[in-house]
């Protein structure tokens, strides 16, 4: 008998203002055998998290299970009483949620939150519960269990918090563990440690596992079987390795093909003529010994609460030639976005020199000439928030044209349409508001806006990280296209090594504000010399030797401890 069997499950959300119902999960069926590992993959909004919660007979406010069965040990838990289902949750089936910070009660210390579960399900006394919790913390490799026990959630690092939550889920040795995107809030290297832990625990305890994620490479790493979901339906299912190597459906193929992979081949080398031109091309951006320290803003609060910040960027130097693309790679907190903000003029460097086309640009935007502001443009990470929600696309695109070139009326409109066409968007969008566009369309509009200025340098700050995998590749392609067409150079900032490998000519690897590795993309990725680069590459390609690298590199331990 399967441990869990889902039959034709349908879950609907009710729109509170119109009252109409929308199916988030639409007729899903599958089985999980004891000890099996199943991955459920899909892009945002495909209903995978709603499904995960429904497996524990739980819906968020507004959601209703409208049909189907969830059989656990042969019993339909959707028909259980509240008390019966409560007995099951945390004891026989447990969930590891997405964001460990918000998922732990902020006003309670973390230890007692795990004790609580043990007290409820195993009737342990206070002392026994505490001892068990500490043992669980050791089992999830928390470095200092005693200390962590007495800390509040926000006092632990991201990786530590996730270990606490996993310890809580494992407290009663459940038969089924559901992990809902448990590593999205973590850095690549921390993510890898947590994944490895999950795998170890699974092997040790024989727990059946359902792993929900948007990342196919993760399921390939951790799961035997995979379900691919799209718009509430299962569109593909099978062995993880098979789906990854030979997807059957178009959607599956597209999903696999779209993954930016570090272990993929280097992109076709650019035509020789271009290459030659590039090598002789003149220097566009020259950054020398750049450092940045967050200065404390003057305020009454600050008087009472002086703070010392460490350097966010520490003595960084690199250069970028006309028409080329330089990748800046690093985890969160590595200083890569700070560098972008300095180049574009949102911040001024604490020390060092930033030169653009031979002239110093060490000043913030209001001291720069309009011409300089025009020549350096930036594209932000989150496309929705980078477009004013109260302006139509037409206004968003024509406003910079007016400011930079004094264009208005039909001329500006025509130019806007032209740029939209470059981004393969129709002119109909001009009358829409940003919220009426999809994420990919929004980002393409943001790119079009940056190119209204005919820039010489374009800063791309994590431009694909907020997008679904299936649209990432297309957006990147369009970006490269317009960049080639206009000859703009690009400073491409990303934590995603696969993406950088695809687009960058040269790459700089940053760690905690320092440059640890630099060179042509081919040399950095093909033959990494620095341990940290190796570590990032191993983590990104989900290689097992990751852990050995991390122990072999004590200098990087700080970065691994989390964000």
């Amino acid at each position: 008998m399967p441990l869990l069997e889902v039959k034709d499950l349908r879950i609907a959300y009710q729109n509170p203002s119109t009252g109409e119902q929308m199916l988030a999960v639409d007729g899903v069926s599958f089985k999980v055998e004891p000890g099996e590992t199943l991955g459920i993959v899909g892009e945002s909004g495909c209903g995978k998290s709603t499904l995960a919660r429904a497996l524990m007979a739980y819906c968020r406010p507004g959601g209703v299970i409208v049909g189907g069965e969830v059989l656990f040990d042969g019993n339909n838990i959707l028909e259980f009483t509240d008390e019966q289902i409560r007995e099951l949750r945390g004891r026989r089936m447990a969930m590891v949620p997405q964001d460990p910070l918000t998922s732990l009660t902020y006003h309670m210390k973390v230890g007692p939150q795990i004790d609580e579960i043990l007290k409820i399900h195993q009737q342990l006394g206070a002392h026994a519960a505490r001892l068990s919790t500490l043992k669980l913390f050791e089992g999830t490799n928390l470095p200092t269990p005693e200390k962590s026990y007495g800390r509040y959630p926000h006092e632990n690092s991201g990786g530590q918090r996730q270990r606490v939550v996993i310890a809580g889920a494992l407290a009663c040795q459940p038969d089924l563990l559901i992990l809902d995107e448990p590593t999205t809030a973590l850095d690549t290297t921390t993510e890898m440690q947590v994944l490895k832990l999950v795998k170890e625990l699974r092997d040790r305890m024989g727990t059946a596992l359902i792993y929900i994620t948007h990342d196919l490479t993760l399921t390939d790493y951790i799961c035997e079987n995979v379900l691919v979901m799209r718009e509430g339906k299962v569109v593909e299912r099978g062995k993880a390795t098979e789906i990854f190597s030979a997807p059957q459906t178009d959607y599956g193929k597209m999903l696999v093909a779209a993954i930016p992979r570090v272990d993929a081949a280097f992109p076709e080398p650019a035509p020789a003529i271009d290459k030659q031109e590039a090598s002789t091309a003149t220097l566009l951006l020259n950054v020398e010994n750049l450092s940045y320290r967050y200065a404390q803003r003057w305020s009454i609060d600050a008087l009472f609460n002086p703070q010392q910040e460490e350097l966010a960027v520490d003595n960084v130097s690199f250069e970028l030639r006309r028409g080329e693309t330089l990748g800046l790679v690093g985890e969160s907190g590595s200083g890569k976005s700070t560098i972008a903000n300095i180049v574009v003029g949102l911040m001024a460097p604490t020390s060092g020199e930033v030169a653009f086309d031979g002239a110093s640009i060490n000043m913030i935007d209001k001291f720069r000439s309009a011409e300089l502001r025009r020549r350096i443009q930036i594209i932000f990470q989150d496309p929705l928030s980078s477009l004013n929600p109260r302006r139509r696309i037409e206004s968003i695109l024509t406003r910079p044209l007016k400011i930079f070139f004094g264009m208005s009326g039909a001329a500006a409109r025509d130019r806007a349409v032209e740029l939209l066409e470059d981004m393969e968007l129709s002119a109909d969008l001009l009358k829409r508001f940003p919220r009426q566009l999809s994420g990919g369309q929004q980002q393409r509009v943001a790119i079009a806006r940056a190119f209204t200025a005919k820039p010489d340098l374009i800063l791309c700050d994590e431009v694909t990280s907020a997008l679904d995998v299936s649209v990432q590749a297309h957006v990147l392609e369009l970006l490269k296209g317009i960049q080639n067409k206009t000859g703009a150079a690009s400073l491409f900032i990303s934590h995603d090594l696969g993406v950088v490998k695809q687009v960058a000519d040269d790459t700089v690897v940053l760690q905690k504000g320092h440059i640890v590795d630099a060179g042509t993309t081919r040399s950095v990725f093909g033959d990494p010399t620095h341990t940290y680069t190796k570590l990032l590459l191993a983590a990104a390609s989900r290689r097992e030797d990751y852990a050995d690298l991390s122990t072999a590199a004590p200098t990087t331990a700080g970065a691994l401890r989390g964000r």
Binding site: S17, R297, I300, D365
Partner: protein
Amino acid sequence: MLVNGKSLGAILTHSPGTTVGVILVSLHLLNALFAPLLIPYGETQLVGQPMLEPGHANFLLGTDVIGRDFLSRLMMGGRTSITVAMVGVLGAVLIGTFFAVSAAYIGGFYDDVIMRIVDTKLSIPGILFVALFVVGFGRSVTVLTIVIGLSYFPGAVRTIRSQAMTQVPLAYVKAARLRGESTLSVIFRELTPNVVEVVVVEFAIRTSSAILIVSALSFLGLGISPPTPDWGLMVSEGVNQIYQAPWLILFPAVFISTLVVGLNFASDGLANALGLDAARGLHGG
């Protein structure tokens, strides 16, 4: 008009409570607008015996303590306080929007100064604040309107600023700054349109609160002065006749209460429809 993809009609009939509120407010506003044309007698004229009971042949609701037509006074009794409240709050909210948005955008010392002024005002209980001005500047409709404006300015700044603070760090504001928009342009062109809902709800909620305050002041003798008819004033004038003529209190009480109940139901519905939380905007003062 479309707000957040909802038509004005849909917003105003959001729930039964909202509909009731909108109807009550409309009736009161129509009455306040057209009362001068409709009233049977001049509201300050002595036209009959004092304290005639309601149902009298010539005076539908009887007469007041000194023989003025009670119905006429009732119908005219909301005009002053509604005007004072609306003008005062409108001024507070409009000027407050500018200070709130600019404080959020410019930040630093400027923000600090504005917020400390706001804290200062919020520390002085509403009626005491008005009393200070009334004792200093005397009581007149102008002083009252300005004081109401001053009273509601800090609260409006606080609520609108916290909404603006959610917008300031967003990339579209950086984008505007980087293409060289002036500070004023960022404030008016980029940020202000994105706090409009909060401003509208602030206006609605604070107007009803201001009407409460104005009538309470009139009741205390610190607000609108006789012989101008005002519901709060009429209640206090009726107190001495509480045994003989309780209706002199009850009628104005019903008028003022239905107006404020209507306003609050309507603004609660408005806030809900716009996805805002009315309770958050109700900070005392």
